[in-house]
Amino acid sequence: MSTLQTTTLQGDAAAAPKQAVNSSRGGIMRRQLPEMLVGLGLLAAPFILPVVGMSPDLLTRILIWGLFGLGFDLLFGYTGLLSFGQAAFYGTGGFVTAYLLTSGVVSNLLLALLIGTVMASIAGLAIGYLTLRRTGIYFAMSTLAFGEMFYFLENSSFKEYTGGENGIAGVPPPELSLGFVNIHISSGWPMYWFVAIFFFVGYLIARRIVRSPFGTVLKAIRGNPKRATALGHSIQSYKLTVFVVASAYAGLAGGLLGVFQSYMPPDAFALDTSAQLVIQTVMGGAGTLLGPLLGATIWLYLYEGLQQLGDIGAYWKLILGIIFVILVTVFRHGVAGGILDFVRHRRARPLAADEEGSDRVAGALDIVPPLSSTQAGSPVLEARGVTKHYGGLKANTDINFTLREGELHGVIGPNGAGKSTFFAMLAGELATTSGKVFFRGKEITGIGVTEVCQLGMSKSYQINQLFEHLTVRENVMIPVLARLRGKYRNDMLRGLHSDELDSQVNAAIGMVDLTRQADTRVSDMSYGEKRRLEIGLALATGANVLLFDEPLAGLGPEERVLVVALLKSVREGRSMVIVEHDMDAMFELAERITVLYEGRKLAEGGPDEIRRNPDVQTAYLGGMDDESA
């Protein structure tokens, strides 16, 4: 182990006990604070809010929107998927529940709600499968369109069941059968309590999801889907799962709506419903879970308030639209987000959700799985005749390359030599035109970065690919989670922290010397620190084959020395390929160097050999090329 590492580890060990005291003192009280506050708020609301003119019906309606919004916030606020079609699932849950109860097929209220929720989830699975094939604007447009499809279906094909434009009237008032006693829930406050229980349970579950390993991956997907994929997560599966969860919340909320007003209105399916949900969530603050509830309060209270002002009532939606545009433009985090930002600012420390984390540090080598290869010097990564042509442009032609166990292999070449293309093909990011890539004897040509990472090879990027809105610790968790849990695991109700996870995260942070910045948000860090974190993410995957794409790019002299030392220190037990412009660093680090020139392999050999090679000198001095290195 190198000196650099030993010092950081010792420094860590000294700091650890102090932190441990701090974090354990918060305990359950601090960690469950939001849950307790929400519970108290729900209990207190009936005694306080009527003072400002809020009726039990209004509060119940707000809670139904809030429940609907919990799922949507997981989808949009946490995962970054903006759906304009949530009404489809709200309506499905609502109409299935209402139909079951009115037709007498199912008389048990809870069972009817459950079936409605399940049906909405199934609809979510189908629509999610289709719409998640594309991201960004495509996703927003296609969810909106499919949402409308459900509205049409309700009005046409399923008219006999849904009543078309009339909806389903006469949904029986809720009655809970507890075997020996039947509880009849009348409208007004009893209904509020009934819905409040659902909301509270929904909130507890959503909080757990957010704080689970699953939820942590969701946040990574929102921050940088490309890197989350490259770090070994099958993000498509995560997206689909959270889409189904959001549909389930929507379905339950829809079911409660019908029960609450004893009528299931067809416009539950309308685009307006999806739009209202989006607007409420953004106004209240996305990514806070309670934002949608807050937004619904503003929307519904404003609506009722403006109706009482006579003429202005007609313009309430115009006023709301203007407020919305202003909020999106200048106050992006909504009301709840604004409050949280303020609190964070006051506390001067991020409200990290992981104050419960352990401070154990794994040994630097423990995060690397034992070498599966038998002997040093056997090939781990091989490219055979790799070629990439873009139309007439020949980026790479017939390159053979071998990385051996334990080797540090440099790839150099003047600008435009095809280094990045070659690297992307080695990393499984890019398919080859012809030729194959093998990893420990297994063909990996174009199998995709997620699979490659799970096999034990990871790449650090030339341009930082970090999760800017997360802290260093949360960033490093993403690759560690991929290694401990595989490319997908549905553990949304589990706790995030385990000794294994924490000790590996701490070790990786220590290796890149960011222990003191562990709870700093990446967006607040310096470029040099980000650069080290970039390398740290690749290390934390536990991969023992690492590809570094210009690790020194953009660094000042001091940082360069640090990173070169870091690269040397992590060599033990790992094989590496480095692409770099800095020749001195390369000759110092690499045992073997491959020179690419105009898309072909020009030379290969030890540093001294390469230094003396006349072809390489000519290539670099511009004899054969106008570009200089």
Binding site: F76, G80, L82, L130, T131, R133, R134, T135, G136, I137, Y138, A140, M141, S142, L144, A145, F146, E148, M149, F152, L153, S156, S157, L271, A275, V278, I279, V282, A314, Y315, K317, L318, L320, G321, I322, F324, V325, V328, T329, R332
Partner: protein
């Protein structure tokens, strides 16, 4: 089995509906292609154009002036929108762009509702568009035939502007790499403004041309917004030919299924979109890798 002439007339009808959809979608797609923004206020601009055309028509009695007036108002609204807000959004995430255009759409629709009320209005076809056309054994409303012609001519005109003029060259270069175009000394900002204006105007123009066929309500825009989304998802977002092909496909699906069972015509449209998403997610004419 529907008769041959019915099939023909529906095919024709589909083409007329399709080209109109293509026209609306073109506006959406060129804005996206150039600026990378999907304008969720596009349906609202369609409504603004239609109502402005209605007023011009009522004041002047000339349908041609109404078309000009409706397009001009939509153009003006588009320009103000770009200058006032959208410009700040080009560097923000797509979600923000969607949200703000969606919000602007609500504001525009509510302004129309405030000015004209919520009841539906009707626009009579122009004098040169009343009556019936006979093409062989086919009997067809004259105005529908004319909208087909108008839409086709406008699409050709747009095609010409985008593919045969220097503005079009800049726009297409800007799609590839706006920074580079800027570095070459071309004012990309102004080009963006012009493109946004043209996109908005296409929506407004379609709104007026379509007005004699439908009843005007402030909320009608959403329907067209959804349909134009389906069209561009089928055709490929950002692709001009994709919008035209997608529009015609959508129009034919709507009118041919309407012949068999009108209940299912909308549903079939979405089914077509689902098929495209499954088998060719980038759209029929879309390019791989563009999001």
């Amino acid at each position: 089995m529907p008769s041959m002439s019915l099939v023909f007339s529906q095919l024709f009808n589909g083409l007329s509906v399709g080209l109109l959809l293509a026209l609306i979608s073109t506006g959406l797609t060129i804005i996206y292609g150039t600026l990378g923004v999907i304008n969720f206020a596009h349906g609202a601009l369609f409504v603004v154009g239609a109502y402005a055309g209605y007023t011009t028509y009522a004041l002047t009695g000339s349908f041609v002036l109404a078309v000009a007036g409706g397009s001009a108002v939509a153009l003006a609204v588009g320009l103000v929108m770009e200058r006032g807000l959208m410009r700040q959004y080009y560097s923000r995430p797509p979600e923000d762009q969607i949200l703000v255009t969606f919000g602007i759409g609500i504001v525009l629709v509510e302004i129309v509702r405030g000015l004209y009320g919520g009841v539906s209005l009707s626009v009579a076809p122009p004098s040169w568009g009343t009556g019936i056309a006979r093409i062989g054994s086919l009997i067809y409303p004259l105005y529908r035939l004319e909208t087909l012609g108008i839409a086709a001519v406008t699409l050709l005109l747009l095609y010409f502007v985008l593919y045969r003029t220097s503005l079009g060259l800049i726009v297409r270069a800007g799609i590839e790499d706006s920074q580079m175009v800027n570095a070459l000394g071309i004012n990309v900002k102004r080009t963006f403004l012009v493109v946004f204006g043209i996109g908005a105007m296409a929506a407004g123009f379609a709104g007026v041309v379509n007005a004699p066929i439908v009843a005007l309500t402030p909320d009608m825009g959403f329907r067209y917004l959804v349909d134009s989304f389906v069209v561009v998802v089928i055709g490929g977002v950002g692709s001009f030919p994709g919008a035209v092909v997608g529009g015609i496909i959508a129009g034919e699906i709507l009118s041919l299924t309407a012949m068999i069972n009108p209940q299912y015509s909308d549903v079939m449209l979405f089914a077509a979109m689902a098929l495209v998403l499954i088998f060719r997610p980038q759209g029929l004419m879309g390019q791989e890798g563009r999001e």
